[in-house]
């Protein structure tokens, strides 16, 4: 129980810092000084105290999305094995529940984007759903491929099994699944080459276009939730393909602390790598994105097939 509380607190407080680290890495590679890793927290602190605005003509969906998005992210943070594999929500900690929760958040935001009735909100929602339709099945399939050797779709069991037999990770299955999961994580969190989180151009936006009408506390909640989703997906990647240091059931407080430090390090390194690789890439044209995502889906499918043949 203490492990899960630690995990949720770590994700909640650490995610904006991860975004800060990624922006700082990018700034340094571009020759800039950067605003420092605490800047996302400064932005959130300021936004929390500002007036939220409900534009005329918006309905309950617009009000619900800023609550649903961080809500689902926090539930996912309490079931995904980041610090500990022993979640009290063990019954729902399977990959279908986690994917469905992430989808629920995305769909809520897409509907809220539609609800504003602006051209860009609707456009962002339509693009988000296009990406989502290819991303979610790929997440499902690639983790499913990893669940075959473990014999369970429970994420805690998959990670425990992989930590016990680290050699099982060196196989075509995990390679294919890893590549597929990296691509869809980038797409789901709206990073380059699928979406540019720093853009000012409405016409190229996906995620940002849906949040254009939010202000103040609502915007703070959405940005916080986006940061949490990013660190959750990176944490899931780290947990599935480098499952060392994660505390198991019945671990003492010291093991939990070590596990927290290890996962923070792993996610920071992954985030730094992601930010550095973004400097070398341009954004893909929107109509090329389905090709990229269909490719990752194919890899996930091959991973599932391979896991049956190699089992």
């Amino acid at each position: 129980m203490a492990g899960v509380v630690l995990q949720v607190v770590l994700v909640g407080l650490g995610s904006p810092l991860l975004v800060g680290v990624m922006r700082q890495v990018r700034a340094r590679l571009e020759g800039r000084a950067g605003a420092g890793i605490w800047q996302p927290w400064r932005d959130l602190r300021k936004l929390m105290r500002r007036q939220p605005i409900t534009p005329a003509g918006t309905g309950w969906m617009f009000r619900a999305a800023p609550l649903l998005l961080p809500g689902t992210a926090l539930v996912v943070a309490s079931v995904v094995p980041l610090v500990t594999t022993a979640s009290p929500l063990d019954g729902v900690a399977d990959l279908f529940a986690v994917t469905a929760l992430l989808t629920l958040g995305s769909v809520a935001l897409a509907l809220a984007g539609l609800d504003t009735g602006t051209a860009f909100g609707g456009m962002g929602a339509s693009r988000e759903v296009t990406v989502l339709a290819l991303v979610e099945p790929t997440i499902l399939l690639s983790v499913f491929a990893l669940s075959v050797p473990a014999g369970s779709t429970n994420l805690g069991d998959i990670v425990t099994a992989a930590a016990e037999h680290p050699l099982s990770l060196i196989s075509p299955v995990s390679l294919l699944a890893a590549v597929a999961l990296v691509i869809v994580s980038i797409a789901e969190t709206g990073r380059i080459p699928v979406d540019n989180p720093a853009t000012h151009l409405e016409l190229t936006m996906i995620h940002e276009a849906m949040t254009l009408e939010y202000a103040g506390l609502d915007l703070a909640l959405i940005e916080w939730a986006s940061a949490m989703r990013l660190s959750l997906l990176l944490g899931l990647l780290a947990g599935l393909f480098a499952p060392w240091g994660i505390a198991t059931a019945g671990a003492g407080p010291l093991a939990l602390l070590v596990a927290a430090v290890v996962i923070a390090l792993k996610v920071t390194v992954l985030g730094g790598l992601l930010a550095a690789s973004e400097v070398f890439m341009a954004k893909l044209r929107l109509f090329r994105i389905p090709e990229l995502l269909a490719g990752s889906f194919l890899m996930a499918l091959l991973a599932v097939a391979a896991s049956y043949f190699l089992a």
């Binding site: 605003a35 400064r42 300021k46 500002r50 605005i53 936006m205 915007l219 070398f280």
Partner: protein, 159 residues
């Protein structure tokens, strides 16, 4: 790989942060190091835009002080208005101002935004920015140099 070599060879482009000469705006105490800015071109010749772009470029790096340009007035704490307000942009500027959540700041950037500059009295010009929306901070210059823009940004972020 050639890009990596270039990055290593170029190193840091950003110049060291200059000393501050002017005091913070009273709003800086509330914003505490984070200002989101929506830029509105109310009829500018684009001279000021070029200078804004370089103020946020690698050399002056306006983002290091906590200022950031955003895509929506709803996300903004401050409006950065350039150019004399033309008749076509007057109502757009007013509506953008109303879309910004309170408390909001307005920065009139450049001589045109302050007193219409060379466009004063032209048939398409409705007036200076302060004739349309209340202005909190004026930045002189035609166009204002990036360091002057940075100074104005730092008076808002307090960094």
């Amino acid at each position: 790989m050639s890009l990596l070599r270039k990055i290593r060879k170029t190193g840091r482009v950003a110049e060291p942060a200059p000393e501050r000469t002017l005091e913070d705006l009273p709003a800086a105490a509330q914003l505490r190091g984070s200002v989101q800015i929506r830029h509105v071109d109310a009829g500018s010749c684009n001279g000021c835009e070029v200078e804004i772009a370089s103020a946020f470029g690698p050399v002056y790096d306006g983002e290091r002080y906590g200022a950031r340009l955003v895509a929506s007035p709803r996300h903004a704490d401050a409006l950065l208005v350039t150019g004399p307000v033309t008749r076509n942009m007057a109502s757009a500027l007013r509506r953008t101002f109303e879309a910004v959540p309170e408390p909001r700041l307005v920065v009139a950037l450049g001589d045109c935004a302050r007193d219409c500059g060379v466009f004063a009295g032209a048939y398409g010009v409705a007036g200076a920015v302060r004739d349309v929306v209340p202005v909190d901070l004026e930045v002189p210059g035609c166009p204002p140099e990036p360091q002057v823009i940075i100074e104005a940004l730092r008076r808002m972020t307090g960094r």
